[in-house]
Structures are given as C-alpha cells and as structure tokens.
C-alpha cells in the first residue's frame, strides 16, 4: 500500500546528542532511519527515556539533529534556520500535545485561529475556517469558551482543530490520550482515524501504549535511541 505513495518524511542516520564535550555526553538518538509515506497512520512506541520525545521534536521541526539528514516533503530540515523551522511547523505540521497546550485567557476560537494568524491569513477567513474546524470536531457550541471552562476531552478536540487550521499534511500527536479517561481517549483516537481515512492526513502517534499503537497502520518501536522493530498494525479503531 505504502509503496504507491509519496514519501513525506525521510530520516537518515539521525543522531541527537546532549551535553556534547562533557563527561555527561548523551546520545538520545543514535543513528535513526525512518521513512514515512503520505496518508500513513504511524505509531512510534517506546518507554520513557527511549528517545521517542527527542524523535518527535526532530520530526516536528522543533529541534535540529546533531548528525544525519532529515527531509520533509523534499525540504532539508536539518539545515534550516530558526524562522524557517517556524514556517515549516506552521504550514506542514499540526501538533497535538498530551497537555493540550491551549493558550489560557483566550477562547477556543482564538486558539484555533492562532496558527493561521502566524501564517498571515486575513481575519475574516481565519474566523470562518476556525468555526468550521471546531464544528468538525464537535465543538461548534463552545467556540467562545475559555480553556478553563472546557473538559479534558473538549480541550483536546480544540487542540486537534487548531492542529488542522493551516491544513498541514502531517499531524504529530504526542501521547494525545495520556491525560484523558478511556472514553474520551477513544473519541480523540476516532478523530485521528477520521482525519487519516477521510482527509488522508499523515498521522504520527507517539505513545507508550501498545493498545493504541495497535490501531495504526505501522508500529515503529524505539529503545535507547535506536529503532528496535517495525511491524504492521491493524489500522482499525477498536470498537468501544
């Protein structure tokens, strides 16, 4: 299936070291090669300290590798400057965090508008699109609510709408259900499946949960900064 599709992410020999040149030098990633194709639903699984967060930061263009080559949609990300990385994050990647990271004191609508604001989209278009996205995730009734007035599941749905605002090709979700109960977690996972199936978004799920990983097309395991395995998943949502 994936052979017929375009490669969107190519990681080659990625090394990320911390405390370089000190006795505490640490290689969080030690020669990682990964290919991810358009429209794939991929899980990256590993225990804490395995290097999966570092890998997420690099895939998300939040950080540059110490060594190796990262190409995203044919663009060399490993050599990009700060503001180029900002633009890549803004247009190509939709982040969904475990702790939602909504801007407090700012309502749901404004939160969803924010990436479009940095993309320079005019106010009228921003509002229209943000409303549409919030309706898609079932938050149309609570657009004017502040994050503190929303439940965890509602916050995460706003965060997903925000991730979608600049119509990125990749959704990068870091433990998106980690802070949710199983029922709302299920709902969030269903949204990812829907985005993957209906809008053909590439979804990268970073998780420590084997059950969640099992729902994806492909499961990449990481341990001690190295890829330890790769296998196919069911690709199907678990029936609640």
């Amino acid at each position: 299936m994936s052979e017929t599709k375009e490669k969107c992410i190519e990681l080659r020999g990625i090394v990320k070291k911390y405390f370089i040149g000190t006795p505490n030098e640490l290689a969080a990633l030690d020669g990682v090669d990964i290919d991810i194709y358009d429209g794939e639903f991929v899980a990256i699984v590993g225990a804490s300290g395995s290097g999966k967060s570092t890998l997420m930061n690099i895939i998300g263009a939040l950080d540059r590798p110490t060594e190796g080559h990262y190409s995203l949609d044919g663009v060399d990300v490993s050599a990009a400057k700060d503001d180029e990385l900002s633009a890549i994050r803004n247009r190509k990647i939709g982040f969904v965090f475990q702790t939602y990271n909504l801007i407090s004191k700012t309502n749901a609508l404004k939160n969803v508008e924010m990436p479009m604001l940095y993309a320079g989209i005019p106010a009228k278009q921003r509002v229209e699109r943000a409303k549409l996205l919030l309706e898609e995730v079932g938050m149309g009734e609570r657009m004017k609510h502040l994050p503190e007035e929303l439940s965890g599941g509602q916050k995460q749905r706003v965060a997903i709408a925000r991730a979608m605002s600049n119509d990125p090709s990749i959704i990068l979700a870091d433990e998106p259900t980690g802070a949710l109960d199983s029922k709302t977690g299920r709902m969030v996972m269903d949204i990812f499946h829907k985005l993957n199936k209906e809008q053909h978004k590439t979804v990268i799920l970073i998780t420590h949960s084997p059950e969640l990983a099992e729902e994806t097309d492909r499961i990449i395991s990481i341990k001690d900064g190295k890829i330890t395995g790769e296998r196919k998943g069911s690709g199907k949502a678990v029936e609640a």
Partner: protein, 433 residues
C-alpha cells in the same frame, strides 16, 4: 499589521488578567508623567497670566527705585521681585534729602522727550486708615498719584471721573475710591460721587470730596495679586500735589516711567538707571536701580524654568524606576507564560512575532500609565492653578510628548524581556512546569 492589532488585543487581555499587578507596575510611570504634566500646566498658567498682566498693566513701564548699595549684592532673584515692587526698598536708612525729587524727574523728562510718555509717581499719605459711613467702615490707604499713574495702572472709572489737569496742578482735596469701597459703604457707585470722604489715619482726620469710582475688576491679573503688588481695592487716590501739601515732601523712593511704544524697554531701563545714578555717584549707601515688567517676566520665567527642570529630574527618576518596574513585571510575566511562548513557537510563531508581542504589551502598560498620568497631572495642575486663582491651560505638546515618552519607556524596558522570550527554546518552553 494584523499581528500588531492582535498583539494589542493580547496585551489588553493579559493586563485584564492581572489588574492589580498592572496598576502597581504603572505607578512609577503615572507619578512621573503626572508630575511633569502638573508642573507644565502650572507653568503655562503662570506664563499666560504673566502675559495678561503685561498687556493690562503694560509692558512699556519701567520702575526706577533707590536701593542700598551693600544690599544689592545679596539680593536674590525672588527678593528682588518682591522688594522692588513696593517703595519701602530702602526703608528708614535713607534721609529725606537723599530721595528722588521732582526736580530730577523734570530733568529726566527733558533729557528723553521722545521716550518718556508719562511719569507715574505716588506718595502714600495714610496707610491702614479707616473710613466710616454710618455703621459701616472700610480700611483704606490714601495715596497721592501723578497723572501718569492712571496710564501706568490702566485705571478706568465706573462712575464719576478722574481728576482733571487743573485739579492735579492745584492739588485739590479730591478723591477716587474703589468700586469695592463704594459697594461696601454705599448702595451703588453713583451714590458715592460728591460725598465727603473722611479718613481716620493714626488719629488725624483727612477730608476729601469723592469725584469718581475706579474699577477693581482685577485688571492687573492674578499675577499682581500673587506677587503682592498693591491692594487696589482699598486704595483711595488723591492728586499728588494734594498729598505733597499734606506730607510736605516732594520726594520719592521710587516712581514709574511709561515709555512710548517703539522704544526698546530693556535698553531704556539701562539709560534711566545711568541717568539717575549720576545724582547718586557720590552717595556711599544708596544707588539707583531700574526694572521693567518685561525684565521681571524674564526673571519669573527663568525661575519657572528652573522649577520645571527640578521637577522634571524627579519625574525622570520616577519614570526610570517605573520603567525598571515594567521590565521586572515583564520578566515575571514571561516566566509565567513560558508554556504559552513554547506553544506559540511550536505552532509556527517566528521569534520576531514573540518579541513584538511582549514589546507591545510593555508599551501598552506604559501608555495606559502615561494616559492616567496625563489625566492625573492635568487634574493636579488645575487644582494648583485654581488655588492660585489662575486659569489652567494644559499644554497639548507636553501631553503628546509625555505619551510618546511613555511608549519609548515601554519599548526600551520591554525589549530585554521580549527578546528573552523570543529566544526561548521551544522544547524547553513546552516542557516548562
């Protein structure tokens, strides 16, 4: 631009979230700006009442007066103003024969026929006398005045008339009283015309016939009152000759010269001074000095400028402290909002937009502080001016200047924290607890 408006909106919402903290932060700015605006308002009001006085009294007057030689050196600028405005400058140390005489004045007029328009001399006959009509009485000073006095003080009658030339020359026992006097002791100014005025001065009675009532609408302006120049309301004017016949003296410690328009006032002050100094060349204790209202105004202005400068320094320190306060609170705010900054960066905010966001926030704090300061300053200034019985005239340029300066403080003290925020590592910032 879009982002800029959004940043202003963000700044307001963050201020609203921390109302008390924002207000305390603004305090330094508020105090600094309001003190500047207050002092400028007061200064402007003084300056405008000064120029009102100049036009009503006339800038074309110079006053020649006697002063003690050794005293000259230690006379301060303020003392100079107050001392020279009354005739008691030389006090009792002057012998009668040393005073300025009618003879000198006549020679002066002859020497400068083109410059001198009129001479205004006066002689106090009775100070703190009383005049009683029926049950009511009023405190009065009886002052003999020359014809030039009417010109110099711009005296207008509201009833009756002023003295004519013959009456002045003959020194008839006639009197002009003030409106205040007339209204206090009679029903209306008209009623007092032709009445006999008896003044009880230190046991002696002086009798005059009232020919006119002069206006006391404060034409001399608030400055005159402020500087303690005369008390017109209780002054009773009589012809100078009449005064001389009572006091048996024809000498003065000071007099004023009304000069023709077109004459350089400051230059003529020096000429008049050197003319009269010739009479006192050999006098060891006394010398002649002269001033004009114009030079007085200059001194007043320079005094005001010094005061303004002094207060500006204090205001500057308040603004500096205020600015540091803003910087401090911005640093706190940025630390508190580390995760927000991380999130914004993750979602694609370039460093420059984070920097702008926090600079705008600092500028908004300072600008609001500046606005409150301007309003407070206008209020405070108006209050001070009201106490001084002037008219408050806030200066538009100083208001605009203050607001621009507040913004400048915001940019200057906001830059460092904003830059710190802009340079945060997004990963660290997102992880911040």
């Amino acid at each position: 631009m879009m982002l800029f408006l959004e940043n202003i909106r963000l700044a307001f919402s963050s201020l609203k979230a921390n109302k008390m903290r924002s207000l305390l932060t603004m305090l330094g700015i508020i105090i600094g700006i309001s003190s500047v605006i207050a002092i400028v308002t007061v200064g402007n009001s003084l300056a405008s009442s000064l120029s009102d006085s100049m036009t009503s009294i006339g800038a074309n007057n110079i006053t020649v007066y006697l002063t003690l030689k050794e005293e000259k050196d230690e006379t301060t600028e303020e003392g100079y103003i107050f001392k020279s405005t009354n005739n008691a400058g030389v006090g009792s140390k002057v012998m009668d024969e040393e005073l300025l005489t009618d003879e000198m004045i006549r020679e002066f007029k002859a020497a400068y026929p083109d410059e001198v328009y009129a001479i205004s001399a006066n002689q106090t006959v009775v100070s703190s006398g009383t005049s009683t009509v029926g049950k009511n009485s009023a405190a009065v000073n009886v002052i003999g005045i020359s014809a030039g006095y009417f010109v110099e003080k711009n005296i207008k009658t509201s009833a009756g008339r002023i003295f004519n030339a013959d009456e002045m020359i003959e020194g008839k026992m006639l009197a002009l009283v003030s409106e205040k006097y007339a209204n206090k002791l009679y029903d209306s100014p008209e009623d007092v015309i032709g009445e006999t005025l008896v003044v009880d001065g230190e046991g002696k009675d002086y009798t005059f016939t009232v020919v006119g009532v002069y206006k006391t609408d404060g034409s001399a302006g608030s400055l005159t009152a402020l500087m303690g120049m005369g008390n017109q309301a209780t002054d009773v004017y009589i012809p100078l000759k009449a005064a001389q016949s009572i006091t048996h003296t024809e000498t003065y410690a000071s007099f004023s010269v009304v000069i023709n328009s077109g004459v350089d006032v400051n230059k003529f002050v020096d000429e008049a001074k050197s003319f009269f100094s010739a009479y006192y060349r050999n006098n060891r204790t006394i010398m002649v000095d002269a001033y004009s209202l114009a030079s007085l105004a200059d001194e007043m202005n320079s005094l005001m400028n010094k005061l303004t400068m002094g207060i500006s320094v204090i205001a500057g320190i308040a603004l500096l402290v205020g600015g540091i306060g803003v910087m401090n609170i911005m640093l706190v705010s940025i630390t508190e909002r580390t995760r927000e900054i991380g999130t914004r960066k993750a979602l694609g905010a370039p460093n420059s937009s984070i920097r702008t966001q926090f600079i705008v926030e600092a500028v908004v704090i300072c600008l609001i502080g500046g606005l409150i300061g301007v309003l407070g300053g206008i209020g405070l200034g108006a209050l001070i001016v009201k106490i001084m019985k002037g008219v408050a005239t806030p200066s538009v340029s100083s208001i605009i200047g203050s607001l621009l300066f507040s913004m400048g403080i915001g940019v200057f003290f906001g830059y460092y924290p904003a830059n710190k925020a802009a340079k945060m590592d997004p990963i660290e910032a997102l992880r911040y607890e």
